[in-house]
Symmetry: C3
Subunit: 245 residues, 3 copies
Amino acid sequence: MKLTLSDTKYIKDSTSIISELVTEARFKVTKEAFELVAMDPANVAMVIFKLFSSSFVEFEVKEEVDIAINLNDLKQVFRRIKPSDTLTLEDADGKLKLTLKGAQKRTFHLPMIDVEAREQKIPELTFSATIVCPAGQLADAIEDMDIVGESVVFEADGKTFEVSSASELTKAQVTMTPDSNTKIVADEKQKAKYSIEYLKKMVAGSKLADNVQVQFSKDYPIKLEYKVLNVMFLAFILAPRVDND
Amino acid sequence: MKLTLSDTKYIKDSTSIISELVTEARFKVTKEAFELVAMDPANVAMVIFKLFSSSFVEFEVKEEVDIAINLNDLKQVFRRIKPSDTLTLEDADGKLKLTLKGAQKRTFHLPMIDVEAREQKIPELTFSATIVCPAGQLADAIEDMDIVGESVVFEADGKTFEVSSASELTKAQVTMTPDSNTKIVADEKQKAKYSIEYLKKMVAGSKLADNVQVQFSKDYPIKLEYKVLNVMFLAFILAPRVDND
Amino acid sequence: MKLTLSDTKYIKDSTSIISELVTEARFKVTKEAFELVAMDPANVAMVIFKLFSSSFVEFEVKEEVDIAINLNDLKQVFRRIKPSDTLTLEDADGKLKLTLKGAQKRTFHLPMIDVEAREQKIPELTFSATIVCPAGQLADAIEDMDIVGESVVFEADGKTFEVSSASELTKAQVTMTPDSNTKIVADEKQKAKYSIEYLKKMVAGSKLADNVQVQFSKDYPIKLEYKVLNVMFLAFILAPRVDND
């Protein structure tokens, strides 16, 4: 296997975002993509990541390869990448060899690890509400909620999409309506509650894509998708909080 | 009551500065201004703040309204304001409702609190030395003193204004003389000592106004005034340190 | 003694770098330079610093003067220098008087201290490998190694210069080859190991000079030199790590 990227932003930022949810991960390299499907250790959130082969300048893989690795190790090497460097990934004697080429040639060998988790299957989900909006707006709304509480309520009907949070004394609410940048589609009124701690990590996807697609249903998981055409796909699925308050 | 600001800088920065001295505060909304007079919990420093009604784009108040609120709560909401947002303050069922309007509409409800302190009266003070100088210069001078000690000596005669601090071994001194930016008026030589901890919080007013007016007398309180014409007024009064050294 | 600088960058940044290795230091002021030779408290590293008299706008010294001072005190004053300030150093009654002149005149008096250490002699060293390369490249290479381990191996033959670090599982390696910016001269293959903790502090010299000269030999000290012609000279000597692995 030998994969080379000249634009290292997407692999670098995605790994950083994913590492907030999952520490040990098994990437799979197929003909189509460098990809990952993983659950967080608490089994509450799933991350689905693909970096398409078309975004690489070199993408040699004879058969499917698994790269199980500690994401913090990987992040440390990625932090050393300069914008002008190319990055090459190779498997070398049970290690992942990373080569950064710029003014100097720099190589790093990271140990492969045993990831015991069986391969994750992406669940089949059907959603009743779908919103597409600027990714930064969703990230801001979640940050707004962080002032108030630990959970966030998502609500949508055909006309508005609302994110809110309430504690005994304080309350925060962001309302979006359809416009040239925002599409809202919903069957009746949908409402569900999710952990703000997880959402904050997920909306960091706004660094990578201009828009986010939000999908959810009443007391049902939520799915956030960040896409860059022909380059990458990063999605998160988060279980709802169904509590008694 | 309904107050709307399109330039949110002054309310935001003032609240942040004031919150370093006072945590719980009672604002008063009169026909003229959104204002505050408060003592710090140690009864050493007073802050006087007015944001004039002329700086609001909407200023509806039928009768004087009191808004007693935790400044840290308020600061958290103000931190979420973007430069292009307008801010509306309303009283709603015993809560303070804050609305930020930009690409999205965002609302926050904060609880009013009981502030036991009786209304503060601004003391009548007569000063023998008055200095007007660039606000940043005073802030720098106080930061310079911070290298040395816990207290700062202010000294002025008609010709120079001096800020100094001395410990057993170290000494720092800043001297200003009258020029196009600096006016110094003093009856004889005035000298007094103040806590650097408080002064550091107060000179943050340099973020808001170009100039500061400094007034003090021998072993007497000091008053710092930051003004933006027709917009805001922020002043601090600090008791002197009269110790035996 | 009276020394005045209008470009304060070199004295400020050098003092900051040196203070990471040595806390109490004895500067010597001769006709030629404001200079220092000091060992770190663990006796592992030596620093040699000269700020040449030609870089000062005023350099009055009748006889050699010693200025023994706490570098943290000095750093605190230097941090208060603004880019447009001139800095004057004088000895005044057993204190070091520092004057910053800009919009205001600011003076600081710092206590001289007793530094017991006898005067340091710069050891005579003969090196078998000499590399000159962009200072930032060496600094980056050391930062790369910091991902891996506590020690760094320097290796050079006539054709390549290599910096590497290895732990049980991880490995990092930077290779430089001669080019228009990089000169490598070595008698046979030279290889030695040094502490990364010290190297990280030393390569901060890259803030001051464009290039660094690296000199070492097999299991022998390393010397790093940062020079700005007619302005300053900053060098470090570091003992090798000769361990059993």
